[in-house]
C-alpha cells in the first residue's frame, strides 16, 4: 500500500473512531453530525485513493530510482501564463458582491464567470 493510501485509510479510520467516541460520550447530535460528515468524507477520499492510484507506478515512490529512470517521458504541455484565473476570480468577486449589494453586478459576474470557465476549458485542450 502506498504511503498516500495508508494516510487516507488511517485518517478515515480515525474519523470513524472519533465520531463514535464522541457520540458514545456526549450524545450530542450537532457535533456527532459534524464528525460523521467528516468521517464519511474521509472514507470517500480513502476509497478514491484506491481508484486513482490503481495504475500508479511513480518514479518518485521508488527508493532507488535514478534520474535516468524517468527518461523518455514526454513533458506535458502546461500553460506558462493565462489571463483567465484572475478573470474568474474577479467574476466570483462581482457575483458575491452583487448578491449582497447590487443584483445587476451579480448577473454581470455570473456571465463573466461562465465565459471565463469556458475559456479556461478551451485553453486546456
Amino acid at each position: 500500500m502506498t504511503v498516500g493510501r495508508r494516510l487516507f485509510v488511517s485518517s478515515a479510520i480515525f474519523g470513524i473512531a472519533i465520531a463514535v467516541a464522541y457520540w458514545l460520550s456526549a450524545h450530542n447530535p450537532d457535533g456527532a453530525i459534524l464528525l460523521g460528515v467528516m468521517a464519511v468524507a474521509l472514507v470517500f477520499a480513502a476509497g478514491y485513493m484506491f481508484v486513482a492510484e490503481r495504475e500508479a507506478r511513480l518514479v518518485g515512490d521508488q527508493a532507488n530510482a535514478s534520474n535516468a529512470d524517468a527518461s523518455g517521458e514526454q513533458l506535458a504541455v502546461f500553460t506558462v501564463a493565462s489571463p483567465w484565473p484572475i478573470a474568474v476570480a474577479f467574476a466570483v468577486f462581482l457575483l458575491l458582491l452583487g448578491l449582497a449589494i447590487f443584483p445587476i453586478l451579480a448577473a454581470f459576474g455570473l456571465a463573466l464567470l461562465l465565459f471565463g470557465l469556458f475559456r479556461l476549458g478551451r485553453e486546456s485542450r
Binding site: N28, D30, G31, L34, A56, T79, P83, P85
Partner: protein, 562 residues
C-alpha cells in the same frame, strides 16, 4: 488521466544526471513582462511571492491597527477612538492577522517551496493555483472595503457570533463584505489544499519517496488535510449567515426557532483546526531551520511526521473547548482531547531539542527566530493546557489571559517562525541576502517587545480585565500594566521597521546571494537563487531526506538505499 500526470512530473530529469531545460519540449518562456506577467503568471514561484508580499502588506496594516488598540488602552478612560470604532479596529486586526496574513503567508511559502523541495517543475494545477491567489486578493479587498461603506466595517470580532452578526443587530454592509470576503478566502484555501496534496503525492522527483520528504512538505500534507476537513465548515456557516441576513433564513435566530449555538458549533469546527492550520506549517519551518544551523540531521524524523498527523487528527475533536461556558457541550470529552494534543506537540519540542543537543549550533538570525519561537510557543502552549481545563476556563474565558495565550501561540509562535522563514529563504526567493546585523536587531526588538506586551496581559487577565473593552476605569494596577503592554508594542513596531529597512536595503543592493548560503539540506538549495523557470536544470540523486547535503559531502552521506 494516469498517463497525463505521470508524464510531466519526471520528464524534467531526462538523461542521466544533468538535463538542460532547453532540450525538453517545455513551452517557451513567457514573452510577457512587467505587470501583465505578474497578473497572468501561473508560475508557482510568482504566485508564492505574490501571496507572501500581500500577506506582509496586511501584517503591516493589521500591526498599525494593533498600535491604535494599544494607544487607546495605554491609560484608563482614553478617548482616542469610540466604542464602535474600537470594535471595528479589533475585528479588522484579528481578521487580517488570521485570514489575510498568517494563513496566506503559510500557503505562499508552501507554494514557493513545495515544488522546489520535491524536485518538481511546478504545481500540479498551475492555473488553479493562480486562481486561488487572485480569489484571496479580492477577498482581502472585500473585507477592508467595509471601511468605506455606511456603518463602517464589520465590528463583531473575528468569529462574528450570531445573533450579534444577524441583520437586525449588525445592519451595516460591512458585515456582508466581511462574510463575502471570508467565503472567498475559504474557497481559495480549499482549492490550494487540493493542489498541494496532488502535487506532493504525484510530482515527486525520482527517488524522492514520501519518507524522504522534507519536514516542511510533510507538515503541509497535514495542513492541507486539515484545510479540507475544516474550511468547508466555515464556508457553510458563512453561507448560512448570509442566507439569514438576506434571504429570510432563520438558522441562528432563536426567536424563530433557530439555534445560535449551532453557529458556534459550525464556526469552531473550523476555528480550532484553523489554529493548527496556522501553526503546523511553521512547525515545518522550524524543523527546516534547526537542523541546518545545528549541523546535524533532524532528530526523530518519523516522530516529527507522525506527531504532525496526530496533532491534525486530534485537533478535529477539540472545537467545543471554545464553548465550555455555553453549558450545552460535553466538557469532559473536549477537555480530554485538548489535553491529549499536548503530547504530540511535546514530541516535536523533544525532537527539536534533540536536534540541537550536541550540535554545532550557529546563531544566525533564522536560528535566533527559531529559538525565540520555541520559547514563546512553550508559554502559549502551556497556558493553552491550563485553559483547556474547564474550571480554569470558566475563570479565564474572554479575559486578557486568553488574549495573552493566543498571542503567544500566533504572535510568539507563527509570527516568529514567519520572520525566521523570511530570513532563511529570502536569499533563495530574491537572490539577495538580508543583513545579519539588522536581522539580529530585528529579532531582539521583536522578542523583547513581544514579551513586554503580552506577558503582562496574563496578570491583567487574572485581575479580571475582559477582552474587547474599548476603555477601562482606573482600577489598581490596570493602568500601569496596560502602559507596559503599550510600550512593548512600540518596541515591536521599531523591530518591524528595522525589518522593513533591511528588506529595502537588501533589495537595492547589487550583491547576489549564493545558491546555498546556509549549507542547506533540501532540494531548493541545489538550484540557483532565485530558481530558474521550471526550477531545476539538474537534480542530485535522492537517497535520504538530505539530498543536497549528501551530494556535497559524499563521504558523510548516509546510505539509505533499501
Amino acid at each position: 488521466m494516469a498517463a497525463r500526470w505521470r508524464l510531466f512530473g519526471h520528464a524534467f530529469c531526462q538523461g542521466s544526471h544533468v538535463v538542460n531545460a532547453a532540450t525538453t519540449t517545455a513551452p517557451a518562456p513567457s514573452a510577457r513582462h512587467g505587470i501583465i506577467e505578474w497578473l497572468t503568471s501561473t508560475d508557482h514561484k510568482h504566485i508564492g511571492i505574490l501571496y507572501m508580499c500581500t500577506a506582509i502588506f496586511y501584517f503591516l496594516v493589521a500591526g498599525l491597527l494593533a498600535l491604535v488598540i494599544r494607544a487607546q488602552l495605554s491609560q484608563p478612560e482614553m478617548t482616542l477612538v469610540g466604542p464602535h470604532q474600537y470594535a471595528q479596529i479589533f475585528t479588522l486586526h484579528g481578521t487580517a492577522m488570521i485570514f489575510l496574513f498568517v494563513v496566506p503567508f503559510a500557503l505562499g511559502l508552501a507554494n514557493f517551496l513545495i515544488p522546489l523541495q520535491i524536485g518538481a517543475p511546478d504545481m500540479a494545477f498551475p492555473r488553479l493555483n493562480a486562481f486561488t491567489y487572485w480569489l484571496f486578493f479580492f477577498a482581502g479587498l472585500t473585507i477592508f472595503s467595509g471601511v468605506f461603506v455606511n456603518g463602517g466595517a464589520a465590528a463583531t470580532g473575528w468569529y462574528a457570533y450570531a445573533p450579534l452578526s444577524e441583520i437586525n443587530v449588525s445592519t451595516g454592509g460591512g458585515q456582508d463584505l466581511w462574510i463575502i470576503g471570508l467565503l472567498m478566502s475559504s474557497v481559495s484555501g480549499i482549492l490550494t489544499a487540493v493542489n498541494f496534496i496532488t502535487t506532493i503525492f504525484l510530482y515527486r522527483a525520482p527517488g524522492m519517496t514520501m519518507w524522504r520528504l522534507p519536514i516542511f512538505t510533510w507538515e503541509m500534507v497535514a495542513t492541507s488535510l486539515l484545510i479540507l476537513m475544516a474550511f468547508p465548515s466555515l464556508a457553510a456557516v458563512l453561507a448560512m449567515l448570509f442566507i439569514d441576513r438576506h434571504f429570510g433564513g432563520q438558522f441562528f435566530e432563536a426567536t424563530a426557532g433557530g439555534n445560535p449555538v449551532l453557529y458556534q458549533h459550525l464556526f469552531w469546527f473550523f476555528g480550532h483546526p484553523e489554529v493548527y492550520i496556522m501553526i503546523l506549517p511553521f512547525f515545518g519551518v522550524i524543523s527546516e531551520i534547526i537542523p541546518v544551523f545545528s549541523r546535524k540531521p533532524i532528530f526523530g524524523y518519523t516522530g516529527l511526521v507522525l506527531s504532525a498527523f496526530a496533532i491534525a487528527g486530534l485537533s478535529m475533536g477539540v472545537w467545543a473547548h471554545h464553548m465550555f461556558t455555553t453549558g450545552v457541550v460535553t466538557n469532559a470529552f473536549f477537555a480530554a482531547v485538548s489535553f491529549l494534543i499536548a503530547v504530540p506537540t511535546g514530541v516535536k519540542f523533544f525532537n527539536w531539542v534533540g536536534t540541537m543537543w550536541r550540535g554545532s549550533i550557529i546563531f544566525t538570525t533564522p536560528m535566533l527566530f527559531a529559538i525565540g519561537f520555541m520559547l514563546n510557543f512553550l508559554i502559549g502552549g502551556i497556558s493553552g493546557v491550563m485553559i483547556a481545563s474547564p474550571p480554569i476556563d470558566f475563570q479565564a474565558k474572554d479575559s486578557y489571559f486568553l488574549v495573552s495565550h493566543f498571542h503567544y501561540v500566533l504572535g510568539g509562535g507563527s509570527l516568529f517562525a514567519i520572520f525566521g522563514a523570511i530570513y532563511f529563504w529570502f536569499p533563495k526567493v530574491f537572490g539577495k541576502m538580508l543583513s545579519e546585523r539588522l536581522g539580529k536587531w530585528c529579532f531582539w526588538l521583536l522578542f523583547i517587545g513581544f514579551n513586554t506586551t503580552f506577558f503582562v496581559m496574563q496578570f491583567l487577565g487574572v485581575m479580571g480585565m475582559p477582552r474587547r473593552i474599548y476603555t477601562y476605569p482606573a482600577l489598581p494596577g490596570w493602568g500601569n500594566l496596560n502602559l507596559i503592554a503599550s510600550i512593548g508594542s512600540l518596541i515591536m513596531a521599531v523591530g518591524v521597521l528595522v525589518f522593513v529597512w533591511d528588506v529595502v536595503t537588501a533589495s537595492l543592493s547589487r550583491e547576489h546571494a549564493p545558491d546555498d548560503p546556509w549549507g542547506g539540506y533540501s532540494l531548493e538549495w541545489w538550484t540557483t537563487s532565485p530558481p530558474p523557470e521550471y526550477n531545476f536544470t539538474s537534480l542530485p540523486p535522492i537517497r535520504s531526506e538530505r539530498p543536497v547535503f549528501d551530494a556535497k559531502h559524499p563521504e558523510l552521506a548516509r546510505s539509505n538505499v533499501s
